[in-house]
Amino acid sequence: MKLVAYIEGIGLLGPGLAGWHASEAILCASSPYQAQKTVLPSPSSLPPAERRRSGALVKLALAVGLEAIETARLNPADLPSVFSSSGADGENCHAICEMLATSDRQISPTRFHNSVHNTAAGYWGIATGSMKNSSVLCAFDASLCAGLLEAVTQVVVDNTRTVMLACDTQYPEPLFRSRPIPDAFGIALVLSPERSAQAIAEISIELTEDKADSMDGQLEALRVAIPAARGLPMLQAIAMRQNGRVVLDYLDATRLSIDISFP
């Protein structure tokens, strides 16, 4: 059973990867990768109150999601969305746990509503005005592929375009030691059921037990260290415009095989 969708837009933000267009040459190895902390832009699409309350996860999601949708030249209000994250807003979670361990447990309303796993989806709705379905998932290290499968089944079964976002942020210490995600990293894809003028690539997905592809050098270190970066081999294949197949890490021995071709 192969599931087919067309990628119409891509967003990417991570250490040394400042946007999809800025990163294509790095992924093709035609320009060198230079490690640099992820720079999260201020979420200008949010009203001032929400902008003030937004944490790293929200900024990351808005940046990659809107980059993908701009490339596809679509209106975000028209799109359903799929958000996957291996752990939501790590900084906020730490602040709540720290406060709950003291005698003054009066956490703030903003802390609390930012603690839900769907915090980025909620702010996304406010920023974009989209009232469409938004699915929010977590599958620990398999979160990116869980989100990709959810998005592709939306595309195929509900015959709709959708935007899929996989975003991870760091935990501060002491949680960092238990979950050492080194930096913020996000990938977004706009997926369509039909081949349109703005189609970048066709992907055909199936489950496999084949070994997952790895990368070279520092990109491989990123891929292994951050769950959302598990999608990098697919983005590299797209950047190189080569028809072919990549296998992405998913759950234990279950992986995703993706045939990529170009119109």
Binding site: A88, H113, C138, R177
Partner: protein, 395 residues
């Protein structure tokens, strides 16, 4: 959509372990809400606590998953022969052809809250016995179920706050219709923790008394905990199996913690569920409301329900019995909806004395017994996430 069958299902909450106790509590108008004595919580509120979780032991090979949420999941799986039903499905379809989609909002966060009390006084480190992946992480409960059954098909935790375990039905439907899987274990598991108790308190949304959904003087919710599971298949095992007929999912795009005041997102979700089921509002016999008993939720939902259904469709919130079980609410109320269909019981909304006159609905203050064919169940959550499910009986 092609209907899916709930060939097996189960529910465990403060009103009972398994379906028999749950049904008997509903029939006897018994609430599971009691004054909060949970952990060291010093809030004046009522909670729906599942008794005996401290004594539950996970299977030894999964002991690293030990936390309140996974204990509740395990207790839930052991009821109503559900575990055996899943094993039978594995024989039928294979481990790789069954998906796992479990809704939760806080998963095992309590474990981390407790670990933060035991940080090293010098380094600030968490204790060595703390295991993030298998307890704290949002996925841990879905992973626990997956590993217990040794599934190798698609799997995820769905975590959209209080719509989580309604939306699992949406994810499972898409996976089944896409042909990736033949069956799915779906459910919702959420357990008591300090984050939600103190969090809802900070929003001034906790009632000091047992919650009174749709009451003129409702003043907030009561938090509960629950584990509910269903096995979804493409064909029935018994002629009276309950069907899932429609799912509607929408977003408010309005505010992080307040619903759209006219219930616009809620209305879209209900309309989409009706459309998917190819039904008219008049085809729905009973509505299991989200009905959290916060002033704004019930007002917004009430307006949306009245706009779509008028004021004559019997409806109630069962959160007066179970409390608001947050990420487990969708699954818990799916099970209650299935019980309602099977046993011809439209359950009363408990604790409510005087129905809010602003909400012109046929809100049930007494149990009503009559054969019903289709039930709509609503689940809405923080971040403006909405999901409506329609269940029906074939016979």
């Amino acid at each position: 959509m092609n209907p899916l069958w709930l060939t097996h299902y189960t529910a465990t909450s403060s009103i009972g372990r398994g379906l028999d106790q749950t049904l008997s509590a509903l029939q006897g108008l018994r609430s599971g809400l009691n004054p909060c004595r949970f952990d060291t919580v010093d809030l004046e509120t009522f909670i729906g606590e599942v008794a005996g979780l401290d004594e539950v032991r996970l299977p030894s090979h999964l002991s690293e998953y030990d936390c309140r949420n996974n204990r509740l999941a395990w207790l839930g799986l052991l009821q109503d022969g559900f575990e055996q039903a899943v094993r039978d499905a594995i024989k039928k379809y294979g481990r790789h052809r069954i998906g796992v989609f479990i809704g939760t909002s806080t998963s095992g966060i309590l474990q981390t809250e407790l670990a933060y009390r035991r940080r090293d006084s010098e380094t600030g480190a968490l204790p060595d016995d703390f295991i993030y992946r298998t307890t704290h992480n949002t996925y841990s409960v879905a992973d626990f179920v997956r590993r217990h059954f040794e599934f190798s098909g698609p799997s995820a935790a769905i975590s959209s706050a209080c719509s989580s375990s309604a939306k699992v039905f949406g994810s499972a439907r898409r996976m089944m219709e896409a042909g990736l899987i033949d069956a799915a274990v779906v459910g919702g598991v959420d357990s008591l923790c300090l984050t939600t108790l103190y969090g809802f308190n900070s929003l001034e949304l906790l009632s000091k008394e047992p919650c009174r959904p749709y009451d003129a003087r409702r003043n907030g919710l009561s938090i509960g905990e629950a584990a509910a599971f269903a096995l979804l298949e493409k064909s029935p095992q018994d002629e009276d199996d309950i069907m899932l007929l429609g799912i509607g999912e929408s977003s408010d795009a309005y505010h992080m913690s307040s619903p759209h005041p006219e219930g616009l997102g809620a209305k879209i979700a209900m309309q989409d569920a009706l459309r998917m089921a190819n039904l008219q509002p008049s085809d729905i016999d009973y509505i299991n409301l989200h009905g959290t008993a916060t002033p704004s939720n019930d007002a917004a939902e009430g307006i949306a329900v009245q706009a779509l259904f008028g004021k004559d469709t019997p409806c109630s919130s069962t959160k007066g019995a179970t409390g608001h079980t947050l990420g487990a609410a969708g699954g818990m109320e799916a099970a209650i909806s299935a019980l309602a269909l099977k046993h011809s019981l439209m359950p009363a909304g408990l604790n409510t004395k005087q129905i809010d006159p602003a909400l012109q609905l046929d809100y049930l203050l007494e149990n009503r017994e009559r054969k019903i064919h289709r039930v709509l169940s609503n689940s809405f959550g923080f971040g403006g996430t909405n999901c409506s499910l329609i269940f029906g009986r074939s016979a």
